[in-house]
Amino acid sequence: MKKTKLIALTMIVALMLTGAGYAAWTDYTQVDASIATGILDVDVTQALITRKPEYANAEISNSDKEIEVNISNLYPTKHNEDIDRLSDKSYVGVSFTVTNNGSIPVKLDNVEFTKANPTSPAWDHLKMRGAFFGENKPEITLQPGQIYTEKAKFWINEDAPNDIQNENIGFTLRLNWKQANM
């Protein structure tokens, strides 16, 4: 029992010191991305290109947590702000579905949008429409087992120069979820 107690004491002191180290360390680090666990687990279960112009290339793929989109050869198109309609079908439409595969209700924490080629001039002219691509984070709560589908549209603004169509636009979308407040 004495040896056991000694081991226990060592563990306790180690844990106290670790706490001190942790407190000092987190002063300097920024922590953003939420973790997925077995109990809190929202998976991207489907990601599709729903429409694209014949001449354009669009690809979408997904892992459990991320959606990757690549678009190229898209021409500029006119968008009527008053009636929120595009003058022709020169846009790429995507749809993706997430499922709460965990056992507790969750809520969207933040959206990570990463450009694959941030220096490309196409980003100045790309327009995006969809809940996860706007300024404000949407308020979404998912119950265990609940499935949620979201659509988005991407098009090139009519002011864009002609050579924009040679640019490749790629990005990754990651949705981070947290436990919904009681």
Binding site: K5, A8, I12, T26, A33, I35, S103, P105, P144, Q146
Partner: protein, 402 residues
Amino acid sequence: MPDSIKYLPEKNSYTRSILVVILLAVIYILENLPNTFYIDDVVFTYIIKPLLWTGVVAFIWFMPHVRPKARLRHRKVIYLWGFIFGLMYILINIAAGFFEGIGKSPYSHSPAGIITNIILVGSSLAGREFARSYLVNSTTKKENYFVFIIIALFMCITSFSVNKYRDLKDFESTVQFIAEYFSPEFSQNLFASYLTYLGGPGASIIYLGIVEGFHWLSPVLPNLKWINTALIGILSPIFFLMIFNSVYSDISQKKKKENEGTAGWIITSIVSIAVIWFAVGVFPIYPSVIITGSMEPQIKPGDVILVEKITDMEHINKLKINDVIQFKRDGILISHRIVDIENNENEGLLFKTKGDNNSGPDTDLVKPQDIKGIMKKIVPKIGWVTLLIRSNNEISLREVLF
């Protein structure tokens, strides 16, 4: 009833074991019924499930008890080892986090959230461990790894939602699921089965209680690549199993009676760790001793302020004029009141601060990244010991106490 009949193997214990398995299966099915069912999800998850699990504990409690393998007098040492392995598990995870990075915990850490989670996880833990112990100890009296494995497999399978299994569409995601989630969970369940075999439900509740406690209450968790999660998750419990196997054979051979008040010991150590952690600032609220008189008369030297950590922009945006914030400047911590907030186009939010007792505001503006937290409460006078230690001049008791 003649003694000989009392000790015959009872068919009833098989029936009861099957009943326990059915109970667990029913709860699993209820958890996984499609959403169209009329029970509100929040009510089901946070109220009905805990009640169901408490029911499982009650049901098993009122059945004839099954003894675990170890003698009663060894029980306390076993509990202590459960405690030690729990701490080891936390340390291993923290170390992994240091090496590979940490992520924000997705669980709710509001006071209501923490209490609800403790009820949710605590009831489920108690129910499952009582069930596990009953199944293990009524099925086998000898160290039978086949039994441990089957029971561990059952408990492991029922810890993931049916949707998760259904959504495994290809080989790659199946392999990742097995490596990242299933195998570590199975490994943990195997070790827990061994713990209950020797020490009953108490042993595994202590071990898993600490593991789950850390998982749900820590504001950050290690953010590892799935292969590393797999490695640590699978190896740690196996490692503990092997250690405990050899430890137990030492323990069971000792003849002396051990009566050391283990429960009190465990509680004391948890409390000491908590106190130290609170003092160094692990928790979201931490203490800070005020040394100068720049915030008099509200805050005097020797007072201790309780500061709530500010960790993201959401909190920064909520700061208002008259809040007292603690920030770092030139390596020291300063606690002053916000007198003005500027929204600079280039630099974002900037805060102008002033000590209540100072004649003018602080010369430099405070940037969000320098802010450590916002003051929540003042505890008068208890920091005077720190003052004495820190100061070169003598601060007389009278100055602090007047």
